[in-house]
Symmetry: C2
Subunit: 406 residues, 2 copies
């Protein structure tokens, strides 16, 4: 027995981040090298505050159902560890509980924390192994083909777009345009994923607005008008991070478009700003939908492929640590598109911490209002299969850990 292990979750939840936790926990509980398996309550805050609980006291049923429950069951936070003083505090807590294995499920800030804590431990002579598990709906982590969480958010948002699109198709004589706001402040990966819903020209979404394409109001209005004239309706998916050429977000426009028809300053999100534009420029009624956090926690209809990869990445992280690997993150390595084949790899935590995966410019159509077939080829394998949570009285049954604090 080399010591105890701790697992933590960080940042925004996903539909499958608990699958990764379940993978880590299952593998760690099985490993003779590992003593106890702890959870940090609310991510790294739980370590800093010494709020740690023993996952070995959870029932096997809880750990199994954890895999199918959405959001971050161990708790999460948006706390960024900035100083070596805080990192030393973390190491001190690790020492106190003889924690030698640190599994951090998160995005690039989490990988940065894991990396710096591990390196400081090494410098101060505390032996430990830190392995990261990728997680983000934004799909913007460097070094990995895609991120667990992404397949599920686009499967669900594409389904929502498909279903709301049929609503607009039936109601176009009254509700002619529908605008759906997708998450994604810096990259258009999520909004782009709704393109999978469009099997035919007439299917929704008809227009996708990405943060990568500076918003051009006249060209946008002309494109909407084109659909109104040809199919009498238009469904638009807009990234919350869509910007004007001057870099300001749609919902913080200054100047000519800052006021609505009544002279009131516009508030709200990207969808609401677009709603005003459509109503002013195209003179038709536009509805808006903002699925917000609902889109990232849809475990009732998550991608089974995503769940399996998330779970497997968790197990693989433990296996790597037991083999002596440290300061690395598990990656997903695509070996082929058809048939889809994906294996696990390893990369330096520091590379993920300092990198970012941009949406390829050549996956955006020339007019800037949609994505190409290359994107579809990339994204389609990620949404295959449906995870089915256990049901109870007509609704999913989602688990909570019982949190036996040490």
């Amino acid at each position: 027995m080399k010591g105890n292990a701790i697992v933590a979750q960080s940042g925004g939840p996903t539909a499958v981040i608990n699958a990764s936790a379940a993978g880590v926990i299952h593998a760690a509980l099985e490993a003779p090298e590992i003593g106890k398996v702890f959870a940090a309550h609310n991510g790294i805050l739980g370590v800093l505050n010494d709020e740690i609980y023993n996952l070995g006291k959870e029932s096997p049923e809880t750990l199994e159902e954890l895999r199918w429950s959405p959001s971050s069951a161990l708790g999460s936070c948006r706390h960024k560890v900035k100083s070596d003083e805080d990192r030393q505090k973390i190491i001190n807590i690790f020492k106190k509980h003889d924690i030698r294995y640190f599994f951090y499920i998160g995005g690039n800030d989490s990988m940065d924390t894991a990396d710096k804590v591990s390196k400081l431990a090494k410098r101060t002579g505390y032996e430990m192994w830190a392995v990261g598990v990728p997680k983000t709906i934004d799909n913007d982590l460097a070094e990995t083909d895609h991120c667990p969480g992404y397949g599920s958010v686009i499967k669900y948002l594409a389904t929502m777009t498909m279903e709301a699109g049929r609503d607009t198709e039936a109601m176009y004589t009254a509700d002619t345009v529908n605008i759906i706001e997708a998450m994604g402040r810096n990259a258009g990966w999520i909004a782009a994923g709704t393109a999978l819903a469009r099997r035919k020209e007439e299917d929704a979404p008809h227009i996708i607005l990405l943060p990568e394409v500076p918003f051009n109001r006249a060209a946008f209005a002309a494109k909407v008008q084109h659909y109104l004239e040809t199919i009498h309706r238009c469904v638009i998916v807009v990234s919350e991070g869509t910007k004007y050429p001057n870099g300001s977000f749609l919902n913080e426009t200054k100047g000519d478009f800052a006021k609505d028809a009544f002279g009131h300053v516009q508030l709200g999100g990207a969808a609401q700003a677009l709603q005003t534009i459509v109503q002013e420029d195209c003179r038709v009624k536009a509805r808006i939908a903002m699925p917000s956090t609902i889109q990232r926690t849809g475990a009732h209809f998550a991608s089974l492929t995503d769940n399996e990869e998330a779970y497997g990445a968790g197990r693989r992280a433990v296996q790597a640590a037991l083999e002596g690997v440290t300061d690395k993150m598990i990656t997903l390595v695509r070996e082929s598109d058809t048939p889809y084949k994906c294996s696990y790899g390893l990369t330096d935590l520091s590379k993920v911490a300092n990198g970012e995966k941009f949406f390829p410019k050549d996956w955006i159509t020339d007019d800037g209002f949609f994505v190409t077939e290359e994107f579809t080829l990339y994204a389609l394998p990620l949404i295959q299969g449906e995870s089915k949570p256990p049901m109870q009285k007509g609704l999913p049954r989602y688990v909570r850990t019982s949190k036996h604090f040490i």
Copy 2:
């Protein structure tokens, strides 16, 4: 053979209105008394404009998959027939195509139209049978225990609330309050349905705001504060129709801002108004979600009970008409709660046209911020089972009729 039949859909779509259409179409195609089975394109507008197509030319696969496809596949409208002149126009089109059976799937406006058309036909000596099939997510039709469409919208919205609730539970150190806006202009049936997600005190939703309860800002803020102090978070479901004691909607507080480019009052801003209130009064960050039409078209996770009742109501309407019934609507008659047993009945179209089913005041808790166990007992049977649409490449496959216009 007594003549041809026509089926039309009206008003806002649901996840199961096509199941009712499939029930009508299947039963009508089987009936020797009925010649051709037509569809009105976009509800009653399709009759007025003589835009009618032959459903007998659809493939059996299309008609089967229609049952599992969301929204109104025959097209819909919000056109209210107001004059006898227009009613006579409808009868003339019926005569032209020898239409003797009229099946109208819709809410109380539709039942009013069917009733008045049928009675005018009788007065002018044209023999026909008009039978209505109830449809509305709002669950506010008189004379029926509940409405097809309602079980599915609350099953899906409760699931969304459950899932988004887990997000807030994980992220409460950053995103402390989440406000989800439910449809429902005049009655709180839909928002109330999310109570089914709350199995334990700590489960979302913690507060439900209904149009039936005048909004009291101070009491609301105190209730939110209560949850912040006890469980450190609060998930609120608000009906879009929630009003201040003076009758103005929550989102009308900013005057003209709530009006669209045409000067129409637009609902769908209740969540945003509450967000400002929470941030001002409780000093915590609040997120908002507006599922909008997404909530009513969730055929990927609709209630199987609802789908079966919707389909059966369609079949029953045809059976009734063949038995000589006219000027009636099919009703759902609850025979027992446990085990849930429901049969079909008949009621006068005119009673539905002029009635409205209110949310019972004694199903609202004394503080006005939640609903009682009596409501749960009523609603729970309606969400049982999951309808599973056919899948294609990781997303649902939803059908379109091929529309062979006559």
